[in-house]
Each structure stands twice: as structure tokens, then as C-alpha cells.
């Protein structure tokens, strides 16, 4: 598995040393709050409602068990014994003391983890398909490319003070588990007619108050030219992006105002002047080294006479949480951390250590984190899946709710976040309580409900089957409902159902929507397929009748 070299680790420590000096100047009154804010955000540190929040990157969502144990240790030593896995392959701690931040970051740097650019107006953590390298039909494992792009934009001298934050996602798989077209910039690995590897580039997507699907700005950028193309895309944004209006800072507004065609042209004109610069070519030697580092640790396996165990609960769990691995003899196992009444994505240090132990035992010491805030065991022998399930059950990590509607994605919401307009987690709990019948849950199948407490849309409600957005109306918490958003096959922003619904009525509304789906479903149709066939009207009528 890929690990940072000594010089990379030294760089991380140098970054911490510098930040510690800046912190000291701030505390001594020599660095004002506005500038310190800008600097601390670039080191992942937020001021939240009750304390400081630190966001640590899990680049491309891949963790080894040493790293997960280090994250557990941080949770115990510096937080209140838990961490929150986010929708963008980061982990957040909510109770960090300013005076301890440097030591915390030094500890993480020793296992190759950091919080650099996990916030602020710069290139954020680069996300990848959490199943990179594991699924059939994939063009290429996205992670070596992610790592090279991550490095390149790490403290980039020209692009560290952009108009707004800049989120990049890379996908090489058939299905898009990254939601790349709702990112500032999305890269899809493709092959051209000649069979050469490259990227289709999409720019200007985003959720938030003005949700937009990113426009294609280049159908094929050869792999070795991707860094120069990305630089040009960012240079146009850096020079022309809106800086005058706080709600229009993201690149989606620039792309919308210029028009995708004109933006693409400007990028192309700039790129023409740099693409042949040998210093800007992707380093193919580094790439091939990284490909070796990210190579799967397993070979095809023939398990003679294997028959999986028959057990009702196991079968339900397996149906929802185990996927085929492209290497024969292995499975991909998904573990949900969601429990009734807790913030989705929250994990205690004890859970983290259990997961690390189990990953050592069953999954070659490797784990992945996903945008559904779950943890993936990437390589589990088929004849050990049952044993793993039993262990997960023992520790309360194999809820049969997983993979059903009850596995809700929600941001921390009004209970924890000072940006929130309404609560998220209590709504998630009430939905889970309403749908507590296992037979019904299984009948409904995989249906996404995502709940964001404000327009920042941390829970990606726009791209869920049912999305809820918290807002204030006449001093009360209300929820705007969107339906039939998706990203897996195609990227579609959910449609607004109608006027917002009060907190008291929102769970009824969710149930109504689910019932319209069930009443109209033919055979194995998914929610979005039913929606496409019958339109929004029946849903509207049921909810607002």
C-alpha cells in the first residue's frame, strides 16, 4: 500500500511548524483574526458553535489500519472519543483545543495524515471512487492520478488563494460513486479511439444554493497533460472568478456567467501555451511507481466446494452490503456506522479500533471511506464474509438497516453546526423510527434520503432520491423537499416538490413520497426510474393534498 516517503513526512512537519508559529503570533496579538482565519482554514481548522473543529484528509478515501488507529488515538487524546467521517472522504473532530493542535497534527504526520487544504479557498482533498481498483469494467484505478494531482496542488504558489474553495473528484469506474459532476472540477478517466488513457473534464458543478451540473470543458485530455490543463482551468478562475460577491465565489458562477463555451475557450487558449512544457507533464515514472503501490494485494482465488452460510439476518445484511469484487474469490464489504439517533458518519474510537482489527484480519489491513459515510472492507475472502459479519454483529456494526432507506446521510445540523438553519439528525431519527419494519425496508430497497441543515448542502440532498433541506420560515424549522436527484449513472439535480414543509410534517411527507413510489413501481424499478415514468405530479398531489 502507498505510504509517504521520509521527505513527504518532513514536509508535513514543516507545515505544522509554520502553522504553530502563526498560531503563536495570533495568540500574542501579532496576527489579526481575519488573516489567522484564512491561514487556519488552510490547515483544516474551523471555529464552530462550541469549540474548534479539525478536518483531516483521507486522500482518495484509502486508509490503512495504522492510520485508522492513529485517528482513534487522536479522538481519545484530543477529542471526546469520537470522530465524524464526512461525505468527502475526510474525518472531522469537533472538540479540539487550540493549544493542542500542533501536537495533534505532528502525531498524524507520523502516519502520513494531515489537514492541509481541507478547508479554505484552495484545492481541497481530492476524492476518488471508494471502490477504485475493485470493480469490473473500470477504465483505471483513479488513485495514482489523484495522488499526483493532490501533490501538485499542495501549497501551489499560484493557486492557494483562489476566489473560493475548489473541490476535485476523479472517477475511473463505470458507475460514478464520486458525484464528480457536482464538483468544482470532475475528472473522468476515459480511453480515446487509439486506446490511450486520458480524462474528460467537467467544470463548474456544485450543490449549495445554486445547484449546477458541471459542463464538459474538454472531452479528452491526455494523461500526461492533465496537470497543465488543470492549471489553466484554475488560472482562468483565479484571474476572472467573482471575488466581489460572497455568494458567487465558486467557479460555477464564473462558468455560468461566461458560458461554458467561452470558459472552455479561455482555458484552451491558456493551455496551448503550457501543455508542451516538459516540467508540466505528469511524471510517468512516478505514475508507474504509484501504480505498483496501489496494486491490489490479492490474486484470484479458487475456493473448493465453497457454499455460503444460510442465515436469515446474514442474508439480509449480505444482500445490502456485499458487492462483487473483480478478483474471483473475493468480495467488497460495506460497513455502516449509522445508528438511530447518532450523527451519520460518527464513529467512536472503540469502533475505529474494532474496524482496524477486523480489517487486519479480513481485508489486508486496508479500508476505504465513502460519500455515504460508510467504511468499506475492500478485499474479503468469500469464505470469510460470514465470519466478518458475525464479528460486526458482535460489535453492533452489522445493522440490517444498512443499504436500505434507513441508512440516511445527514450533516451534523443545528445540533452541532453554527451554519445550520435547522436540525438534521433528529429528522433522520424520526424517519428511521417511522420505517422500522424490516420487511417494508427490504421491500423499498435502496433509496437514498439525504438531509442538509442549510444551503451549504453538506449532505448532498440535491442528488438523493429524497432530499431535505433545512430552512427557517416564520421562525420555525421547515424543510424543502427535492426528489429524484442522482449521480451514479447520470448526474441529475433533484426537483423541488413544492413549498417547504414544517418539521412536524416532514416525516409524513417522506412517507407519502415513498408510498407513491411503491404504488407505482413496476418490477425492480428504482425510485428515479419511476419518477421519470410518472413525473412529479403524483408525488406533489400526495404530499400537498
Amino acid at each position: 500500500m502507498y505510504q509517504y516517503s521520509a521527505e513527504d513526512s518532513k514536509f508535513l512537519v514543516e507545515r505544522v511548524d509554520q502553522f504553530e508559529k502563526q498560531l503563536k503570533r495570533h495568540l500574542d496579538g501579532d496576527l489579526d483574526a481575519a488573516k489567522f482565519r484564512s491561514l487556519r482554514l488552510r490547515n483544516g481548522l474551523y471555529m464552530e458553535l462550541h469549540a474548534h473543529m479539525l478536518r483531516v484528509a483521507i486522500p482518495y478515501g484509502t486508509l490503512n489500519t495504522i492510520q485508522l488507529r492513529a485517528l482513534a488515538d487522536v479522538a481519545d487524546k484530543y477529542d471526546r472519543g469520537f470522530g465524524h467521517f464526512t461525505t468527502r472522504q475526510n474525518i472531522q473532530y469537533n472538540w479540539i483545543e487550540l493549544s493542542e493542535i500542533a501536537n495533534l497534527l505532528r502525531e498524524l504526520s507520523s502516519v502520513g495524515l494531515h489537514a492541509i487544504q481541507t478547508s479554505g479557498k484552495a484545492t481541497r482533498n481530492i476524492t476518488a471512487d471508494p471502490l477504485s481498483g475493485l470493480t469490473e469494467g473500470e477504465i483505471a484505478d483513479a488513485r495514482p492520478y489523484c495522488e499526483l494531482i493532490r501533490r501538485w496542488f499542495n501549497l501551489h504558489p499560484e493557486f492557494s488563494w483562489l476566489p473560493g474553495k475548489f473541490k476535485i473528484a476523479v472517477n475511473g469506474a463505470k458507475l460514478d460513486e464520486t458525484a464528480l459532476r457536482v464538483h468544482d472540477l470532475g475528472l473522468r478517466l476515459v480511453r480515446n479511439k487509439e486506446g490511450e488513457l486520458g480524462f474528460t473534464v467537467y467544470v463548474g458543478g456544485g450543490l449549495g444554493a445554486a445547484a449546477m451540473v458541471a459542463a464538459e470543458t474538454a472531452s479528452f485530455v491526455p494523461c500526461e497533460d492533465i496537470l497543465s490543463y488543470l492549471e489553466s482551468a484554475m488560472r482562468i478562475y483565479n484571474l476572472k472568478g467573482r471575488r466581489d460577491h460572497l455568494k458567487k465565489l465558486r467557479i460555477k458562477f464564473l462558468v455560468r456567467e461566461l458560458g461554458a463555451e467561452e470558459y472552455s475557450r479561455l482555458v484552451y487558449e491558456d493551455w496551448k501555451q503550457t501543455r508542451d512544457d516538459p516540467k508540466l507533464k505528469l511524471n510517468l515514472t512516478h505514475l508507474s511507481e504509484l501504480k505498483k503501490d496501489f496494486a491490489l494485494p490479492i490474486k484470484p482465488l479458487v475456493i473448493e466446494g465453497f457454499e455460503d452460510k444460510v442465515d436469515f439476518n446474514y442474508s439480509i445484511w449480505k444482500k445490502n452490503n456485499v458487492r462483487a469484487h473483480k478478483i474471483s474469490g473475493y468480495s467488497i464489504v460495506n460497513v455502516s456506522l449509522t445508528k438511530l439517533g447518532t450523527a451519520p458518519g460518527d464513529a467512536t474510537s472503540e469502533q475505529m479500533r474494532i474496524l482496524a482489527d477486523l480489517a487486519d484480519q479480513y481485508s489486508y489491513s486496508e479500508l476505504r471511506t465513502t460519500k455515504r459515510q460508510t467504511i468499506v472492507f475492500p478485499h474479503v475472502r468469500k469464505d470469510q464474509v460470514f465470519d466478518l459479519w458475525q464479528s460486526l454483529e458482535k460489535y453492533g456494526l452489522a445493522s440490517p438497516h444498512q443499504g436500505t432507506l434507513a441508512q440516511i446521510v445527514a450533516c451534523p445540523g443545528g445540533d452541532y453546526c453554527d451554519l445550520a438553519k435547522a436540525v438534521s439528525i433528529p429528522i433522520a431519527t424520526r424517519v428511521q423510527q417511522r420505517f422500522d419494519d424490516m420487511d417494508k425496508l427490504l421491500d423499498i430497497g435502496d433509496l437514498n434520503i439525504n438531509i442538509s441543515g442549510c444551503e451549504n448542502s453538506c449532505a448532498h440532498h440535491h442528488v438523493a432520491d429524497i432530499g431535505l433541506l433545512g430552512m427557517q420560515k416564520n421562525g420555525e424549522e421547515h424543510y424543502q423537499i427535492t426528489v429524484a436527484g442522482e449521480t451514479l449513472h447520470d448526474t441529475v439535480i433533484g426537483k423541488k416538490l413544492g413549498p417547504s414543509v414544517s418539521g412536524d410534517n416532514v416525516v409524513d411527507a417522506v412517507e407519502d413520497i415513498v408510498n407513491v413510489y411503491l404504488d407505482n413501481r413496476e418490477e425492480e424499478e428504482k425510485f428515479t426510474e419511476v419518477f421519470k415514468r410518472i413525473g412529479i405530479k403524483p408525488f406533489k398531489e400526495r404530499v400537498y393534498e
Binding site: 483574526a33 488573516k35 501549497l155 488563494w161 488560472r235 508540466l280
Partner: protein
């Protein structure tokens, strides 16, 4: 961004705007400690023939379009990029274009510079700088050269091990 943060940022922008109008530099000391008169990009373009004989420098604000200077770079004695607004990163792209792409050979001085941004300015192509007041007494090397390694090509990577 939270509302309180937005307000902070908005007031910071406002403060910067006020500061910009207050401290609009009309001359600057170059690296050899000679005083160079500065003209705006607009003035330079309008009075090119006259000004190019006078050995003046051009002051570039973040909102200026540096491509306007591209064809007359050889006549400009010095270019001053204004980094007063901490969060406005346009100066870094301006420095890159002038220094790396158009190979401007004169001094590119970063004025109203912030200590914490020296590493970004210098690597983007700024060749000298003048810090804002209030940064005295700190080791500039911590911020201009605090790293042993860099991960990307840039206008100036001197002193850094390149890993890319």
C-alpha cells in the same frame, strides 16, 4: 461560510479597499534602494511614448489585466504587484504570467506584502518584496523558505528539492 464569518470577510474586504485608496503608492524603492516612480496600468497605456523614456515602474492592482502590458514589457523599469488584500490571489497569477510566461526581465516587486504569503509570492515569480507594517521582528525565512521540498513546477523553485 457562516454569517458571522461572512461579515468578518466583508468587513475585511472593506477595510482593504479603504487601505488601498489610502496607501496608493506613487513610488517605490527598488532592490538597489533607488526610488522608482510608479504609474498605473491605464496611465502607462495612455502615455506610453512619454513614460517609456522616463524609466518609470508600473503598479498593478489585483483587478488590472496584465495582458495589457505584455507587448511593452521591455520598456517597463519595474513592476509592482499589490498584495495588500490578503485573500485576493490574483497577484500570484499576474506574477506567473509576467515572470514565467512572458519572461519579464525587470524587477517584480510585491508591495504591501504579508509575511505569511512570501513563499507563495516568491515562487510565483515575484523577485523582491516590501512588507506591510507590523511584520517587523519575525524571521522572514520561516515564511519565505520554510520548506525543504516542493511538489510543483513554478516560476522560481530555487532552494527547494523538486518532487514532481
Amino acid at each position: 461560510m457562516s454569517e458571522s464569518n461572512e461579515l468578518t470577510a466583508a468587513s475585511a474586504t472593506l477595510e482593504t479597499k479603504v487601505a488601498e485608496s489610502r496607501t496608493l503608492d506613487t513610488s517605490v524603492l527598488n532592490k538597489d534602494n533607488e526610488r522608482i516612480e510608479l504609474v498605473s496600468v491605464e496611465q502607462w497605456i495612455e502615455n506610453l511614448d512619454e513614460l517609456s523614456k522616463l524609466g518609470v515602474g508600473v503598479i498593478v492592482n489585483p483587478s488590472d489585466d496584465v495582458t495589457l502590458l505584455k507587448d511593452t514589457l521591455n520598456d517597463i523599469t519595474l513592476i509592482a504587484l499589490d498584495f495588500n488584500n490578503f485573500d485576493d490571489g490574483r497577484g500570484y497569477s499576474q506574477a506567473y504570467l509576467l515572470s514565467k510566461r512572458w519572461q519579464y526581465g525587470g524587477e517584480i516587486i510585491g508591495i504591501n506584502a504579508h509575511l505569511d504569503q512570501l513563499q507563495f509570492m516568491l515562487r510565483s515569480g515575484v523577485t523582491s518584496y516590501k512588507l506591510l507594517e507590523g511584520y517587523e521582528g519575525f524571521d522572514e525565512l520561516d515564511y519565505s523558505n520554510g520548506f525543504s521540498i516542493c511538489y510543483q513546477a513554478a516560476a522560481n523553485n530555487s532552494g527547494l528539492k523538486e518532487k514532481f
